[in-house]
Symmetry: C2
Subunit: 365 residues, 2 copies
C-alpha cells in the first residue's frame, strides 16, 4: 500500500486550509486499513486509552467512556466506537500522519479512528480543530457545512457538543475507501455509516488564547528570566481598600499586556509547541554516545524509531526542542538534529551514521 497523498498541496493551502471544507476523492489510491476493527475494539479495553462509544437510539444520543469490558450491550447497529491517539499505540497508524507534513509538525494533534456500525455516527457537530477524515473499509454518508464562526470558540466543552440546528451541507457525499474530507475548525459536519466502516481522523490542534497564554506563562515561570513585577499606579489615595476601581483594573490589565509584549516569549513558546499531547513513554535509560558508536559498528541494521506522539522541532534560534525540553545546536550537531526531527518512518542506524561522526552530535541522543 502506498500512503502517497493525491492532492495539489499549493492549491489546497491557498484555497482551502483553515477556510473551506473539501472532498478529495481517491486521496489515497487503493487505501487499505491500517488497523482491524477487532484490534481497535481491543485497544479500547485497555486502561489509559482514551475511547468513547456514541449511540444513536432513535434520535436520543448516549455517550459511554472507555475502557470497555465488552461491546455486546451496544447491539448490532447505531453506534460508533471512537479511539483517540491511535497513532501512539499502533506504529502503522503513525505513518498516516507523514503525508500531512506539508503542514507544521507542531500543529499535529493525533489520529483518531472510529469504527461505526450500520447507521452509526456521532451526530451533527463542529470541532475546534482542523481535521482530515480518511475513509477506510466500508462507506459513510458525510455532510459538511460552511464555517459557522471563524474567530471565536463556539463550544468550549471538551465533550462532543452537537448542534441544535441543522445545517446547509455544501458537501454531501458517500465516501468510499481512500476518499478524504478536509474539515476546517468551525465547519459543521455529520457522518452516518451505511455499513460497518472505519474512519481515520488526522487532527490538527490550535490552542485558544487562554490555553496558549497559560502554557507560555507556566513555561516562562520555570525559566529563570528577568520578569517585570506589578506596581500600583501612583496615587495619593487608593479609595476603599476592598473596592477595585475601573482605573486600578485597567492598570493591572495594562501591566499584563505591556509587560508580556516586552518579554521575549520565543523560547517559552517553542518549549510549549514541543510539548506532547500525552506524557511520552519514559526512555529505558538514556543512550550514551559510546553505546551509540558501538551500535553503529556492531549492529548497523538496528532501527532508529521516532517515539510516536513526540514533537521534535527546531527553532529559528538553532535550538532543538522536544517534549518541552531544549538542546542548543552547533554546526556539528545541526545535520543530525535535522535528520532526527525529520525522521518519521523507522531508519536503520547506518543511514544516519555519516551524520553522527562527531562525538558532539552523539550527545544529542
Amino acid at each position: 500500500m502506498s500512503l502517497k497523498l493525491n492532492l495539489d498541496i499549493q492549491k489546497f493551502l491557498s484555497e482551502a486550509w483553515q477556510r473551506q471544507p473539501r472532498l478529495i476523492r481517491g486521496a489515497f489510491t487503493q487505501f487499505k486499513d491500517l488497523v482491524e476493527p477487532e484490534i481497535l475494539a481491543g485497544l479500547a479495553l485497555e486502561e489509559g486509552v482514551d475511547s468513547r462509544v456514541i449511540q444513536n437510539d432513535d434520535g436520543k444520543w448516549h455517550v459511554s467512556h472507555g475502557p470497555f469490558e465488552s461491546y455486546e450491550e451496544f447491539g448490532e447497529h447505531g453506534w460508533t466506537l471512537l479511539v483517540q491517539s491511535v497513532n501512539e499505540w499502533i506504529p502503522e497508524v503513525q505513518q498516516l500522519i507523514a503525508p500531512f507534513r506539508f503542514l507544521p509538525d507542531w500543529r499535529i494533534d493525533d489520529v483518531m479512528i472510529s469504527f461505526a456500525t450500520e447507521n452509526g455516527g456521532v451526530g451533527p457537530h463542529l470541532d475546534q480543530y482542523d481535521v482530515f477524515i480518511i475513509q477506510g473499509g466500508g462507506t459513510r454518508h458525510w455532510q459538511v457545512g460552511e464555517r459557522i464562526n471563524n474567530a471565536t470558540e463556539f463550544c468550549p466543552h471538551p465533550d462532543l457538543k452537537q448542534l441544535k440546528d441543522s445545517f446547509e451541507p455544501i458537501i454531501d457525499a458517500v465516501l468510499q475507501p481512500g476518499d478524504m474530507l478536509y474539515i476546517p475548525a468551525g465547519c459543521p459536519h455529520n457522518g452516518v455509516a451505511l455499513e460497518p466502516s472505519l474512519n481515520y481522523s488526522v487532527g490538527f490542534r490550535a490552542p485558544n488564547t487562554a490555553e496558549l497564554a497559560a502554557a507560555v506563562a507556566d513555561s516562562l515561570s520555570q525559566l529563570e528570566v528577568p520578569l517585570q513585577r506589578y506596581r500600583d499606579a501612583e496615587a495619593t489615595s487608593y479609595g476603599k481598600p476592598f473596592a477595585v476601581s475601573a482605573a486600578q483594573l485597567d492598570h493591572v490589565r495594562e501591566f499584563l499586556l505591556s509587560s508580556l509584549a516586552q518579554t521575549d516569549l520565543n523560547h517559552a513558546m517553542l518549549l510549549v509547541m514541543s510539548q506532547s499531547k500525552r506524557p511520552l513513554p519514559q526512555a529505558e535509560g538514556l543512550l550514551q554516545a559510546e553505546e551509540l558508536a558501538q551500535y553503529i559498528v556492531e549492529e548497523p541494521t538496528m532501527l532508529l524509531v521516532r517515539t510516536p506522539g513526540a514533537r521534535i522541532l527546531i527553532g529559528p534560534n538553532n535550538v532543538l526542542y522536544a517534549n518541552g525540553e531544549a538542546w542548543p545546536l552547533t554546526s556539528n550537531t545541526q545535520a543530525f538534529a535535522e535528520a532526527i526531527a525529520q525522521l518519521w518512518e523507522d531508519q536503520p542506524l547506518t543511514a544516519l551514521a555519516p551524520l553522527l561522526q562527531s562525538q558532539e552530535s552523539m550527545l544529542l541522543c
Copy 2:
C-alpha cells in the same frame, strides 16, 4: 494597646510607596507584642505552618524548614525563626493589617513574624515584595539600601537569596518597639538582633508577568467565554515541517498578544485578585438566609468574623469577589456586601442587622 498608625499617609503615598525606604519612629505608640515568642515557636511545630530557621554560623548561612521538633540544636544565639502567614493562625495578628488598609486589599500578602536570638538575622538580601517591618519586643539593627532594580526581577527563587555584594545603607538604625521600616521591593536590607527580639513583616504581594498571565489565563479557561483560536498565517508552503521559522513564531506571538488584548480580562483578573494565598478553611456548612435571620433575633451579640486570609473585593462591575468566586450585587445587596468587604475586626451581628433587612442580601452569606 492602640493599633493606630502614626503616619502621614498622603505624604507616604506620594513620596515613598513603591519607591523609597522609610524609617518611621514610633509608628505604633506603646506597641505591645501580638504574640509571645513561645507561641510563635509552638506554631512552627505544627504541620501546615510555613516556617524556617536561618542560622548564621560565623558567616556561613544555614536554612532549616519547619515543622520543627525542638529548637535546642540551634543554641543560644545567631539564629532566627521566621513564620509565614501568622495572621491566618492567630486572630490578634490579623489586626495588624488593618492600619495598612490605605493600600488596596488585594495587594496584601500576609504577616510574617520573626523571632531572632542575639546576633540572629537573615543576612543582606532583597525581596520582590513591598514590606512594612514593625519592631516588637527587643531591638534590631537594620540597614536598608537604595532600590537596586526597579523593573525586573533580581532573584526569582522563592528561597531567600542573599546578596553577593554589600550595599550602601541609606537607613542605618537600631529599631525600638513600635518603630517601623518601610522597604519597597528591590531595596537591599539587613537586620541583626541586638537581643532576642520579634519583628512583624506586613507584606504586599505583586505578581510578575508570568504569574499574573498564568493565573488570568487559567481563570479565563474556566469561564465559558468565547475565545479566539490560533490559525496559521496563510502560506503556500510552510517549509520543513519540524522547522519553526521566525515568521511562524512571530505569528504565534502576535496571536497571543493581540487576542489577549481583544479579550475582556476584567472578570478573570478580579477572580484572580480575590484568590487567597493559601486554601481557606472550609466553611462548616453554608449559612442559610433563614438561619441568619434567626440568629439576628435570637443571638444578636453573635460575632461576624472575617476569615483571616480571605480577600473580599468589589469590582467596578458591582460584583463581589472572594476566594476566586463571584456574586453579582443588586441595589438591595450592595450595602451589606460593602460592610462585609470592609469588616476587619469582629462585629456583633446587630451592627450589620440594618443592612440585612432584605431577603436578597441574606443570600450573600
